[in-house]
Symmetry: C2
Subunit: 250 residues, 2 copies
DNA sequence: CATCAGCAATAACCTATATCAATATTTTAT
DNA sequence: ATAAAATATTGATATAGGTTATTGCTGATG
């Protein structure tokens, strides 16, 4: 992560860094975002940031740590819908809807900034490029949901696990988390199971298969990609849905 | 469907009707939309409107007929991602991305309007309420994707089928398709299978179970809901994700 | 530093759904 | 109207992944 320091305070964070990659932001835009996110709060692991049924509140931005979107079924089963990594935020303008159709929960300890709707509206009025960056981010999140539907619907369990790991690795690396073939991945097998529509027991078996296949291994909260080729091949992974090439960068 | 006639030409269509329900539109806004969609084209069934990998083009609006978003896996398997009904359109501003991460295909014959990006941009500049309506529509589509992920990931096959039928019935009724407990549903068991992550054979068996349970039946392209109570109960259906109550209508 | 709660790992067993196959029916094309 | 193609239906069989249960690890807590 690039940290620019002016005077005492760093004027950037993972959120700003992410948006800059999606659309070029002026110094003024960066300053506005920095000001809006300059008082983030620490949140413990496993805390709901917002619950299904809640009225949408301020825009939540995860500056550090991991969180997830999720839904609970009538029978108590859980489905994780997306992972939020540093820099990710909840939907722009959910406040147009009356209530949340899903919850958002921290996985690890998180540093979370809350931007009041009014503040966001003002910022977007003054800086249309921020609007554009946020909009692109939302389109990418939609593409990711489509990839998840496809994975859960049509891939075998080993393909599914491999596919998710490819996704998380690419996303993490693009924000400077972890390096070369390695990544701190604070996701328990239970959390993975709830993301992939499987049981924890079976996730465990599949991880063993992937280890034996020489593709990857997860130990002590760390993902190690042993062979990218093998992993990508098992997953049938095509990164197009992450839209790392954008229209303005052809 | 409400058809208002001024002079000779109807100035509304399913697209406009849908947006009006999401945000109040001025006469000027309606007129602008009507003008932009006044030259729709007939498209045969099973035609790609846009393919994965294509550069996003004009905004596509389905004025009549059914279509679907879909993805094809390396092994040839297909996953349907969403059904488009009359009034639905493809994502606002996908053109910010370099290429489509999925395709859109007609299921039945369709009447499709294409609005050039430049036209849309002009309209949105002049009529912010249209922007708002389209944005809400997109948020609802996202909620629907989350519901699909949850269904495929965590519901049993019979629950999944029942859940999708509840969704389609509500959506269809809200645009004036079909009536009281009945709906023309031009979806083959193969198409349903590809939407629900199942095999056609198993869809067939599940439909039989639902018939026997007295919940619903599909015959000759028509869905008949025999007992809404039973169907909803089997599905564990909660319509909140369709966001029929909006923030401005509390 | 002992206890406890949550995870991970593995085994044995079971079931929901896939697969394969054959036939009937409906829709479309000629 | 007839042939051809696409769907729907049903049965028999296979299997991927679920369920239940046990054990050991690890890190948190008093």
């Amino acid at each position: 992560m690039l940290l620019m320091v002016v005077g005492e305070a760093p004027v950037t964070n993972q959120f700003i860094e992410k948006l800059i990659k999606l659309a070029p932001l002026s110094d003024g835009a960066v300053a506005a975002l920095a000001a809006a996110t300059d008082d983030p709060q620490n949140v413990d692991a496993r805390r709901d940031l917002i619950r299904e049924g809640d009225k949408p509140g301020p825009l939540l931005v995860v500056l550090d740590g991991w969180a997830c979107r999720y839904k609970i079924l009538p029978n108590g089963a859980r489905q994780n819908l997306a992972f939020l990594m540093p820099g990710d935020c909840c939907d722009l303008h959910v406040d147009l809807l009356a209530e949340m159709d899903h919850g958002i929960q921290t996985i690890t300890k998180c540093l979370v900034a809350k931007i009041e709707r009014q503040t966001i509206d003002t910022i977007l009025d003054h800086h249309p490029t921020i609007m554009k960056a946020l909009y692109i981010s939302q389109l990418i999140d939609e593409g990711t949901m489509r990839a998840w539907i496809t994975s859960i619907g049509r891939r075998s369990s080993i393909e599914r696990v491999a596919h998710l790991m490819c996704e998380l690795y690419l996303r993490a690396r693009s924000i400077g988390l972890g390096g070369d073939q390695k990544l701190v991945l604070p996701l328990s097998q239970i959390i993975l199971a709830d993301a992939l529509g499987m049981t924890p027991v079976h996730i465990n078996r599949v991880l063993k298969q992937l280890r034996i296949a020489g593709a990857m291994s997860i130990t002590r909260g760390s993902l190690v990609i042993i062979s990218p080729q093998i992993l990508v091949q098992i997953a049938g992974f095509d990164e197009n849905y992450l839209h790392r090439r954008l229209q303005n960068a052809p």
